[in-house]
Amino acid sequence: MSNDKTSLQLVTNGILKENPIFKLALSMCPAVGISTTVMNGIMLGLAVLFVQVFSSVTISLIKDFIHPRIRIPTYTLTIATWVTVIDLTLAAFFPVAYAKMGIFVKIIVAFAIITMRLEMFACKETVSDSFWDGIGMGMGFLLGMVTIGFVRELLGSGAIMGYDVLGFKPLLFFILPSAGFFVVGLMMGFFNWIETRYAQRKRGNA
């Protein structure tokens, strides 16, 4: 079972059409809990990108050997293995990066988006398609987290990337986890609205 999408289409699909946060609404806990600053968003996004790509490729490689009854445990095991390997390698050979990214890598074992992508895509498609899909999903998650982080950091602490730009803190409320739901919900609506308008105009032109 193969699809006819090019690698570029697979990547843009993850970023726009099936964006993990705004379209699929998966892995909302980290999206809400951690996206308080742009930097947090980048770190978690990068960690997810790595694990997603590695796990997708692995599952796609071994898809013929996975017993259908134990798919999910196998996925979890694969993700956990990759998380551990990445965590240990970072700690040993990239101590500077590890000091910043360490805690983010550890928490992604249970991310819904990764398991879901393995189930929906990697276990059916070819290795290269899975690779590009992993990149697309990871990028989509990364960009989503950065966008939410940008809004929340700007409104919550009046800063961007830790640099004070506003000089005051407009609404401390935006740093708290509950505000994450509002930001994610509003942005989700905003993106859907743009898409609907875009589709309407396209139809109007045709």
């Binding site: 947090n40 445990p73 986890p177």
Partner: protein, 299 residues
């Protein structure tokens, strides 16, 4: 039934493969990881003592490590300290001094262990066990570094662990000879990024700086917003003289909790409180014993 067996077999096989991969990675990376951690610890220790950014460390400065053990034998428990002995400037090897729970001196055993091996927990435990004999069991609890300058104590470095919101938080705490806090550094934690993880930020951990022992003994966490000037001083955004002034004003205040992470904030401040109080009590007992028994130590 056949299905069952295949499932069991495949699950076991995949677990074994995963375990093998993780194990191999661990073996391959562990040494480098330990080296990194040690290097980081050294850097943190010197930064806490005020020698950051490649500053020369004076030769008169000495660091003496104290290892605390709980010793269990037939009747009950006692506390044992592995410490370097001999006058300042001369190498007298290591001794294991046992103290009863009531603070009375029990005995002193000399432990033949080299300066390098004493840092490795396995080697150290073996050496102590051999010196004590087989009827006692020992359990390592913590280690303290006594920093001296020309034989005078200038600081204590305590490493400790206490439960945070999720897992244990490991810190290194620097105290001066009067047990006031010189500084603290968070070494390891798994608090939530953006919330509890803020404990490693300057504006939280520097609040403990220069707090006198009298205040630390009863320190609490206050749930109110931190004044802007204090925040700026803690983050080092104002010049040193002004920062000192502001820090002075807040010296006897409680710790301001982190927004959305009260539990982590309380965990750190009660951890620091507990570590300082216990250490002060224990060190007084140890000093007492060392003086009574006239055991010469380089610190």
């Amino acid at each position: 039934m056949k299905n069952f067996l295949t499932i069991i077999f495949r699950l076991t096989a995949s677990c074994l493969v995963a375990g093998l991969i993780m194990g191999t990675t661990f073996v391959l990376t562990n040494k480098a990881k330990k080296a990194n951690e040690h290097a980081r610890e050294q850097k943190v220790v010197f930064a806490l003592l005020g020698y950051s950014g490649g500053q020369e460390i004076p030769e008169s400065m000495g660091m003496h490590e104290l290892y605390r053990y709980v010793v269990t034998d037939g009747e009950g428990q006692s506390i044992g300290y592995l410490l370097p002995v001999g006058e300042h400037g001369q190498d007298g090897g290591f001794s294991f001094v046992r103290i009863g729970l009531d603070g009375s001196f029990l005995n002193q055993t000399s432990v033949p262990v080299s300066e390098e091996n004493v840092r490795d927990q396995g080697e150290r435990d073996k050496a102590i066990q051999a010196a004590l004999g087989g009827d006692k069991t020992i359990r390592f609890t913590d280690q303290t570094i006594v920093v001296t300058d020309h034989g005078q104590r200038t600081a204590y470095l305590l490493s400790g662990k206490f439960p945070g919101f999720k897992t244990n938080i490991a810190i290194i705490l620097a105290l001066d000879p009067e047990y006031s806090v010189i500084g603290l550094e968070v070494m390891e934690h798994e608090e939530d990024p953006g919330l509890g993880a803020e404990i490693e930020q300057d504006y939280f951990k520097n609040q403990f700086k220069y707090k006198p022992f009298e205040k630390i003994k009863s320190i609490e966490v206050a749930k109110k917003p931190m004044p802007d000037e204090y925040f700026a001083a803690l983050e080092g955004n104002v010049d040193e003289a002004a920062a000192d002034d502001i820090m002075q004003q807040y010296r006897d205040q409680d710790i301001y909790a982190l927004t959305g992470a009260t539990i982590s904030s309380v965990a750190v401040s009660s951890g620091v409180k507990g570590m300082t109080r216990k250490f002060a009590y224990r060190l007084d007992l140890l000093d007492n014993v060392l003086e009574q028994q006239q055991i010469a130590v380089p610190f």
